[in-house]
């Protein structure tokens, strides 16, 4: 069973308590339609398990297949610099069909980010590097497509529909 490397830490984008009984990690691509389909499912899972679950998102942009995936990932990191990673994450997935550079700027504006700083960060090689580091951690963790999920550090190979994911998570919490 493939293991998550490196384990979840404060370096990650964590929604919820990092010490929750279940930590669900997704390696995702903002332009991948399967990740788009998984987005409301993960939300549903978060609502079901509330404080018993923390959700972590790591970037795995398939840049050759999805021309805006990397830009979107960097934009979310630029938003993170202003404390709005999750808001950006969710806006991008909700507007996935119109993904493009202008749209990313419009989303940043709608989040009332400081646009001057956002534009600078959007070009910052350090943020590109962060996205690449996520990608590399995905390779060594055995990511084999997007979305790839890890439950408490172990790769989840089941389907990502609500019932399957919820069953896998529920079985840990109720154990």
């Amino acid at each position: 069973m493939a293991k998550l490397k490196p384990p979840v830490s404060e370096q990650d984008h964590v929604k919820g308590d990092i010490h929750a009984p279940v930590v669900l990690v997704e390696y995702g691509d903002f332009q991948c339609p399967h990740c788009g389909a998984a987005f409301p499912i993960v939300n549903h899972i978060e609502e079901t398990y509330k404080k018993k679950l923390a959700f972590v998102f790591r970037h795995f942009p398939l840049a050759e297949s999805h021309p805006y995936a990397q830009a979107a990932a960097v934009a979310s990191e630029a938003a993170a610099n202003q404390g709005k990673f999750w808001q950006m994450h969710s806006l991008i997935y909700k507007n996935q069909n119109e993904l493009g550079l202008e749209m990313l700027l419009a989303l940043a504006q709608s989040l009332k980010l400081d646009m001057k700083i956002f534009q600078q960060d959007f070009k910052d090689p350090k943020l590109f590097k962060k996205v690449e580091d996520n990608f590399e951690s995905g390779i060594v963790s055995g990511v084999n497509g997007t979305p790839s999920f890890y439950i408490n550090g172990t790769k989840y190979n089941g389907a990502y529909d609500y019932e399957s994911l919820s069953e896998a998570i529920g079985s840990i919490i109720n154990y």
Partner: protein, 154 residues
């Protein structure tokens, strides 16, 4: 399936409609030989597209990746083009699956290659191999571990 620490059998196959390619051309480099069932699998992030995103991680280990299936050279050309693949796909087409059979990864029932990975070192010796369960894309963690092992033993 061929095991490790033996010489990888050499072969010559079409890499493009008008170009032949033999494994021995890559002597001096590590080679990732990936047998896969067929071009045009329907998912995004299918195995070949996934590896396509990882080429610069492989090149850090002086490694070149080769995809190989029983699809014909024209099929491969169209597939490479459509998925913007930047590495060689080899057509194990005539006689069908001959190389896959040599490596012990031909599936007679389905008439195609199994999903199997071989990592071959710069001297042409198989150093790692893996047969993936049907339908499961094995990712690249095993490949990177193998390349890491090869480079650490130098």
């Amino acid at each position: 399936m061929l095991g490790i620490n033996i010489a990888a059998p050499d072969f010559e196959l079409n890499a493009t409609p008008d170009q032949k390619f033999s494994l021995s051309e890559l002597r001096g480099k590590n080679v990732i030989l990936t047998f896969y069932p067929a071009d045009w699998s329907p998912v995004c992030g299918d195995q070949m597209s996934l590896y396509n995103e990882m080429l610069h991680y492989f090149s850090k280990y002086n490694a070149e990746i080769l995809g190989i299936s029983v699809d014909g050279k024209w099929c491969h050309a169209a597939f490479r083009d459509a998925r913007k693949l930047h590495f060689t796909l080899l057509a194990d087409f005539e006689p069908k699956g001959a190389v896959a059979k040599q490596y012990g990864v031909y599936n007679d029932k389905e008439g195609r290659c199994d999903r199997a990975l071989f990592v071959i070192d710069a001297e042409g010796i198989i150093r790692w191999s893996y047969l993936s369960p049907t339908g499961i894309n094995p990712g690249a963690d095993g490949i990177l571990d193998a390349l890491e092992m090869i480079s650490s033993k130098k």
